[in-house]
Symmetry: C2
Subunit: 325 residues, 2 copies
């Protein structure tokens, strides 16, 4: 089975590739792995052929190249992050929406040429940014998409495309609405949600962290390990079970920033907490104010998707998987 | 005030133009009317300048031409209808989604060049086809979009674009989710919903009508006169009132086909009813099965949008506005 990962150089992409190649992955047997991103992904250690190349997915020729590989499974993880898509309107729309659309169009052409014999499974990482305030206490599976960022609108549109192309039988797709993935290893990125990881990661690494919003902000989190599980689980499940609704809210942990900090105190002590400095950023506050706080992800849970149950567990996953002493 | 009507040769377009020019329209003062469609619209009687031209809105140069007119209000009513968009995948997507997107892009460019001074009001006719089964008894204002036709997906995507371009301040937009407009005057079109009008219009005109679905099918209707009111009301209202959600479910009448036929019997008698022949069409049945049955359009009602209260009223509007003895 040939698997293509678009967005292979990103954090979730790297984790996914590691999992796909760890000898124990539920997505098997792999015959070839194709890694694509705006920059060349790191070459992983692998017993199967791995093809690595890079390009700009917003360009139409790239979609043609990727589709011509005829992968059986396509993980589409690539996107301009929320903060950048808000700043650079054109770039966000071209990459996050037109890029996905071009890819689906090329896959449709190949599917039609093969008279339906070729029908790739596409697993798209959408986001809870498809939702916008005002919210109910818990967002249910039938709550409307009303994004309040361009990033969220681009994700919602790609979801719509994936649903319709799947309904018509050109592809077999699923959109996974990821919680904010936390604790992200490595350096901060331009995502407006970056501080949710920063306030845990930086103090644990003996660095100062800026908290740009009120500690009463409640949000929805899952670990990178859970994200990888969501993706491999989607890669093995029978997507017919989704029936006519191919976008799924993933499970996660709902907590306030204060509760995040309390969990960090429990795990690492008061000295570590002291590294968090509160400095309000109104632009980030405005974006985050429009974000979801809590979910009731009944469908995903019923379909076997799992996450952590407490934020403490999320911190422990970071310490176990990514923390370097 | 310069007003552009895209889709000016269609049924709703014609009714809207008539209303805009009837000397009593709430949308005033009009300085110029621009009528655009795939074919030249009929020249209306008017005391103000009327420009009429035609083209294919899916072509990028057309969007540029339309935007360069800098209309203050744009009524965007044009689309490939549901049945045709289902048959012709490419044509549907190009016209209904890319066509709208091109237009918004051209308007954005002009808006940015004018440093925000030019910010047209866009009134887009979306559809209840953005919803897909399974449904609650009544669809509320926060129910998810899960279209089960390409037409519905194209409408939902255009809604998303209009919301995001409005949020960014390039345009001031609203998406009006029309009920099925009934009774349509004139000849049948390719819309899968066409029979809802046909079973009333044809018998009243002493012609046979085919009912392709069960008479237990429940659906959501409003008259062409209500559609015109929705559009002129949107044209005069302060769209800031929509806050962060720019798509609105319009009010209408929920009834079964059996109730439609009963209303026709009351208005026109048993002889007329006898002209309706039941002949199941599985393709239309399948499409219509995925359509909404009833709504609770609280937001639209609160904002002053009104429709008929019974299907009998809807038939009487047809007899008064469109029936030719």
């Amino acid at each position: 089975m040939k698997v293509l990962v678009i967005g292979a150089a990103g954090m979730v992409g790297k984790k996914l590739i590691q999992r796909l190649l760890d000898g124990n992955s539920p997505v098997h047997p792999l015959s070839e792995l194709i890694l694509y991103d705006i920059i060349d992904a790191e070459k992983p250690f692998a017993k199967i052929p791995v093809k690595i190349f890079s390009g700009d997915i917003s360009k139409a020729d790239q979609a043609k190249i990727l589709a011509s590989e005829k992968p059986a499974i396509i993980y589409h993880l690539a996107s301009i992050v929320s903060g950048e898509a808000e700043e650079k309107f054109n770039k966000g729309w071209h990459t996050n929406a037109h890029g996905s659309w071009n890819l689906l169009e090329e896959l449709r052409v190949i599917s039609e040429e093969s008279e339906g014999e070729y029908k790739p499974k596409i697993i798209f990482t959408s986001s809870i940014a498809v939702f916008g305030a005002p919210f109910p206490d818990k967002i249910g599976d039938e709550f409307l998409c009303a994004p309040q960022t361009s990033y969220g609108a681009q994700k919602a549109i790609t979801e719509m495309l994936i649903s319709d192309y799947s309904r018509k039988g050109f592809i077999d797709g699923i959109s996974i609405r990821l919680p904010t993935i936390c604790v992200r290893p490595g350096k901060p990125n331009l995502a407006a949600s970056g501080f949710f990881s920063g306030i845990i990661r930086e103090p644990l690494n003996n660095m100062e962290a800026i908290l740009p919003v009120s500690d009463q902000v409640r949000h929805w989190h899952a670990s990178p390990r859970s994200a990888t599980h969501f993706l491999t689980h989607a890669g093995t499940m029978d997507l017919k079970k989704l029936e006519s609704r191919r976008s799924l809210n993933m499970p996660g942990v709902s907590c306030t920033v204060e509760e995040q900090i309390d969990a960090l105190r429990k795990v690492a002590g008061n000295e570590v907490i002291a590294k968090i400095k509160h400095k309000t950023d109104h632009k980030i506050t405005k974006i985050v104010d429009g974000w979801p706080r809590d979910f009731d992800p009944v469908r995903a849970t019923t379909l076997g998707f799992k996450s952590e149950n407490t934020f403490e567990e999320i911190i422990k996953v970071y310490l176990s998987d990514d923390f370097e002493k």
